[in-house]
């Protein structure tokens, strides 16, 4: 991994770290406006984080190291993914690591750490959240990997860098049925993984309807800040991955400062647009019952499978 590679990785890490709360703020703002409210402003998530960092850290009695470590692992896995994925430029992707299977597995590892923390608290809500999160996680996996298969067949590699460069080389591929189907399938998978509507309602106050929130009910102060920040970053990463796979334009091919700056700008625009669109769509959606989500995921799986078939039979 070269010096340029390391600098690019750092740039990406900083961009996602600083930008993801802003993305969250924008999405909340869009929602607020569509609901006829004024909204707390784009910077509000950052204010929340700053305040949480200043607050007193608490350790509930009876919890183990797992509870303490989970936020750190969640952040670390997300950062590791951010460092290797070619969000900004394909030139500096490390030889090993930008593999799509590795990326998916790393993101799963973070979610698993948080689920273990939820079980570790020993409260009913923690266990409930963990159980639901893991169930959804298990059912999303086939869609993700089969979608990866569909994207990697025409390229002959599961390496993100190769996929992006080859898509840039012939942009027509983006409107082949394989790509369209895969885009829809992975879009659904992203929604499920990031816990947005209709799979999970991130702004619910009812414990019994929670999935992700229920696992973190025991966290307070800096730990909670880490969890919130990491969740925002995961959202950014998933949206960014989707954009990188299906709209790779603007990703630089070199590590020159100008190219990188442009890449950062385009990345920000793409992710913001996706986030705003997602938030806008959420206004029209109601949360699915937990036991209706398998239908959604089965559907996305079928689309992914059809994408593979299409990529084989229509090249």
């Amino acid at each position: 991994m070269s010096v340029a590679g390391i600098t690019v990785a750092l740039v990406q890490a900083v961009v996602v770290l600083v930008g993801s709360p802003l993305l969250l703020g924008i999405m909340r703002q869009v929602r607020a406006r569509l609901e006829g409210r004024a909204g707390a402003g784009v910077l509000q998530p950052w204010r929340d984080l700053r305040k949480l960092m200043r607050k007193q850290p608490l350790t509930p009695r009876g919890t183990t190291e797992v509870f303490r470590m989970a936020p750190l692992v969640l952040m670390a896995t997300t950062l590791a993914v951010v460092a290797v994925v070619p969000f900004v430029t394909t030139a500096a992707v490390p030889a090993a690591g930008a593999d799509l299977f590795v990326v998916v597995a790393l993101l799963t590892l973070g979610a698993v750490a948080l689920a273990l923390a939820g079980l570790d608290t020993g409260t009913a809500f923690g266990g409930m959240g963990a159980s639901r999160e893991i169930t959804i996680l298990a059912l999303v996996e086939p869609t993700l990997l089969v979608g990866v298969l569909a994207l990697s067949v025409p390229v002959g590699s599961t390496d993100l860098g190769d996929i992006v460069t080859s898509t840039l080389r012939d942009p027509g591929r983006v409107i082949t049925p394989a790509h369209v189907l895969a885009a829809v399938a992975l879009g659904l998978a992203v929604v499920a993984e990031t816990g947005r509507l209709p799979v999970d309602n991130p702004s619910t106050h009812l414990e019994l309807t929670m999935v992700h929130e229920a696992m973190v009910l025991e966290y307070a102060g800096p730990d909670l800040a880490l969890v919130e920040l990491a969740s925002a970053m995961r959202l950014t990463v998933f949206l960014g991955l989707w954009a990188t796979l299906f709209a790779p334009w603007g990703i630089a091919g070199t590590t020159g400062p100008g190219a990188v700056a442009l890449g950062v700008a385009v990345f920000a625009v793409k992710v913001t647009a996706l986030g705003a669109g997602l938030a806008g769509a959420e206004v029209f959606l109601a949360k699915l019952r937990l036991f209706r989500t398998p239908e959604l995921l089965a559907g996305s799986f079928v689309l992914a499978l059809l994408a593979v078939v299409a990529s084989f039979f229509f090249g």
Binding site: K55, P60, T64, M75, T123, I134, S152, V153, T158, F313
Partner: protein, 671 residues
């Protein structure tokens, strides 16, 4: 006499010595003698296996040992691999057995080293007679060990019965298959079989393959022949469960590879489609049972079925690729499968030993009654955590590397064999993916519910750490897991050579210590870098959080948030059953749980509920569907036979006499 011969000979001698010494030793010393002997024997076997993997060969003819055929010992790379795997498992379990003790009857303690010795002989037997002898010896000794505690618990007896019947049905299938094959060869040595298998007409070859596949699959716990596995493994003493689940089961895979690729020379594609489909079904079904199981050791046993299924997916894919003529990809798929065999042995040993130590400390295997073990037994908790991480195919875990290789093989194989692979591979990928997801669920449940949170029973609250020898046994397995997870390059080149050699292809991958790179395709993985990134990231985040957090306020312990009401009791915690409930409900059509709710009303008024009892059973559907009819039929035959057997000795002798005369008449007739 080279290193292989020396290692193997020493191993067998040590095993025999231990088997003789253990019964003679005083009752208290028996486990120590048997355990130490087993461990040393395993160590010697590992040396032999490594030497064989390094390229040494050995062929010994022992005509006197066995009538008619004699016993031929032939050690090649494939055999060496399984020799090393079995030996390594034996080392860990042997050390563990010293402290675990378990049932200390003479026979049982003598059987342990014999079991290991027979398992070591199976992959090196070089002729049909010897192979079958070792296979049967392995079955018998393991049966002895499974039945060890039959006096204490009835389930043990029933489990042993199931195991005995199924393993012998499998043995008969293998016997017929290999004898049919040997019938076409000049003698029963494997080289002769090899040359005979080459010019066998497809129908016969297919028959031989299917027969042996049935036998070996029943040993490997492949659906639908898995029924004995979730019975026998939980009921056996834990170190025996580890030996069976991590070592013996893998020999089924050895048999399939040896017969299918080596002796029959690849055969026709439909064989391998069959193998792949069997593997896929086993993987999903096994892990689904594991995900909803609440018995810790039953969960591990089901996950064995799952892992063997994944291995068979790899083997089947290798066969399909080889049939399509892409030997490089075939080598890659088989390498992935064999590496997964090794990984599975490592983490399954660790998991079963940890589960044994839990059983030892709390006396229960029921996850719903465990929890909060972190406080009482930190080392066991850490060990199980490591094993669970390795088993759930997540980065930093051992299984991740092999499943990554397998997925790479499947992805690149999509277009290799035309429509056939184009239809099978996506399903295979989906299967592996679903299996990985459900494995995460199963092991998060096992670790999170079993070891974290608060104890759910008095026994779990009183749990204490196990004696040092048991911890040492776990440590050995743990080190193996960590090594395989972080530096697969230690073993991958050797395994790759085995995979490539079977198809006469080049090494499918180049494994540097840092990066594992596929040959012929772009694709590389660096477990070390991934682990490093995660660990460095964790440290960095922790540091950053410390710097940013307010220094004025330091971390304080508070009571759990119980919504302001009284203290949370253990009954309010999520149990394994409740954790698995969503999955069980999603897969309702597959697992068909039987649940009944009975509400007893209050004496005064039926509107006041006195108590609600909810019972949930998840029976094995396949078993109900397939085995019940067979069992009832067998029972009917038994009643029929009872009519012949009236108990009069003369009648029995009469049967024999009539039979002999009839035979002679027949001879006269056909002459």
């Amino acid at each position: 006499m080279n290193a292989v011969g020396a290692g193997l000979g020493v191993a067998l001698l040590l095993a025999l010595a231990a088997a003789v010494a253990a019964p003679l030793a005083p009752r208290t010393a028996r486990p120590a003698v048997a355990g130490a002997g087993t461990a040393l024997c395993g160590a010697a076997a590992v040396l032999a296996g490594v030497a064989a993997l390094a390229g040494q060969r050995l062929t010994v003819e022992l005509p006197g040992v066995l009538p008619l055929t004699g016993l031929t010992i032939t050690v090649d790379a494939l055999g060496g691999l399984f020799l090393a795997v079995v030996g390594a498992v034996a080392v860990a379990t042997g050390i563990y057995a010293i402290g675990y003790g378990g049932p200390d009857g003479r026979g049982v303690q003598a059987a342990l080293p014999l079991f290991v010795a027979s398992m070591l002989l199976v992959p090196v037997a070089g002729n049909v007679g010897g192979f079958l002898l070792c296979w049967e010896l392995m079955a018998l000794t393991s049966l002895l060990l499974v039945a060890a505690e039959h006096r204490r618990r009835d389930e043990v007896a029933s489990a042993a019965r199931w195991y005995a019947v199924m393993t012998h049905v499998g043995f008969v299938a293998i016997l017929i298959g290999l004898v049919v094959l040997a019938g076409h060869a000049v003698d029963d040595s494997f080289p002769a079989l090899r040359s005979a298998g080459a010019q066998l007409e497809p129908a016969t070859a297919g028959l031989v393959f299917v027969l042996t596949l049935v036998g070996f699959a029943s040993k490997a716990g492949i659906v639908p022949l898995h029924a004995w596995l979730p019975r026998a493994h939980p009921e056996a003493p834990s170190h025996v469960s580890a030996l069976m689940s991590a070592a013996m089961v893998t020999l089924g895979v050895y048999g399939i590879v040896r017969v299918g690729f080596d002796l029959l020379g690849g055969g026709t594609p439909w064989w391998w489609v069959l193998v792949l489909l069997l593997g896929a079904v086993s993987a999903v079904y096994g892990i689904l049972q594991a995900a909803i199981a609440t018995d810790l050791k039953a969960l591990l046993a089901c996950s064995t079925t799952e892992n063997m299924g994944i291995v068979l997916v790899g083997v089947g894919a290798a066969g399909m690729f080889a049939g399509a003529g892409n030997l490089l990809l075939a080598g890659l798929a088989l390498t992935a499968a064999l590496l997964h065999v090794g990984n599975h042995s490592a983490f399954k040993t660790l998991l079963f030993l940890a589960a044994g130590s839990v059983l030892h400390a709390t006396g229960t295997r029921d996850l719903d009654a465990l929890g909060g073990l972190r406080a009482g037994m930190p080392v066991t908790t850490a060990a199980f955590g490591l094993g669970a991480l390795s088993a759930s195919a997540l980065p930093l875990g051992a299984a991740f590397v092999s499943e990554w290789l397998l997925l790479q093989a499947l992805v690149h194989g999509l277009a290799v064999g035309g429509v056939a692979t184009a239809i099978v591979m996506p399903l295979a990928v989906a299967t592996v993916a679903l299996t990985a997801g459900l494995a995460v669920a199963a092991f998060v449940k096992a670790f999170g519910v079993g070891f974290l949170a608060r104890p759910r029973s008095a026994a779990a609250a009183r749990a204490h750490e196990s004696p040092p020898t048991m911890l040492a046994g776990m440590a050995v397995a743990g080190v193996a897991c960590a090594a395989l997870a972080l530096a697969p390059a230690l073993v991958l080149p050797a395994v790759g050579r085995v995979g490539g050699a079977l198809f006469g292809a080049a090494d499918p991958l180049a494994a540097g210590l840092l990066v594992v790179r596929l040959q012929g395709f772009t694709g590389s993985l660096s477990p070390l870098l991934v682990a490093g990134a995660v660990l460095v990231g964790t440290a960095a985040v922790a540091l950053g959080a410390r710097l940013l957090a307010a220094r004025s306020r330091d971390r304080t312990a508070v009571r759990l948030w119980d919504c302001g009401a009284g203290p949370l009791s253990a009954r309010m915690e999520y149990t394994a059953t409740s954790f698995a409930q969503p999955l069980q409900r999603v897969f309702d059509d597959v697992v068909r749980p039987e649940q009944d709710v009975d509400v007893t009303h209050h004496r005064e008024s039926q509107y006041l509920v006195d108590a609600v009892r909810y019972r949930l059973r998840v029976p094995d559907r396949l078993e109900h569907g397939l085995y019940r009819p067979v069992l009832t039929a067998v029972a009917a035959w038994g009643r029929l036979g009872a009519r012949l057997a009236t108990g009069s000795i003369h009648l029995y002798l009469g049967y024999g006499f009539v039979a002999v005369c009839g035979l002679m008449v027949l001879l006269v007739a056909i002459r």
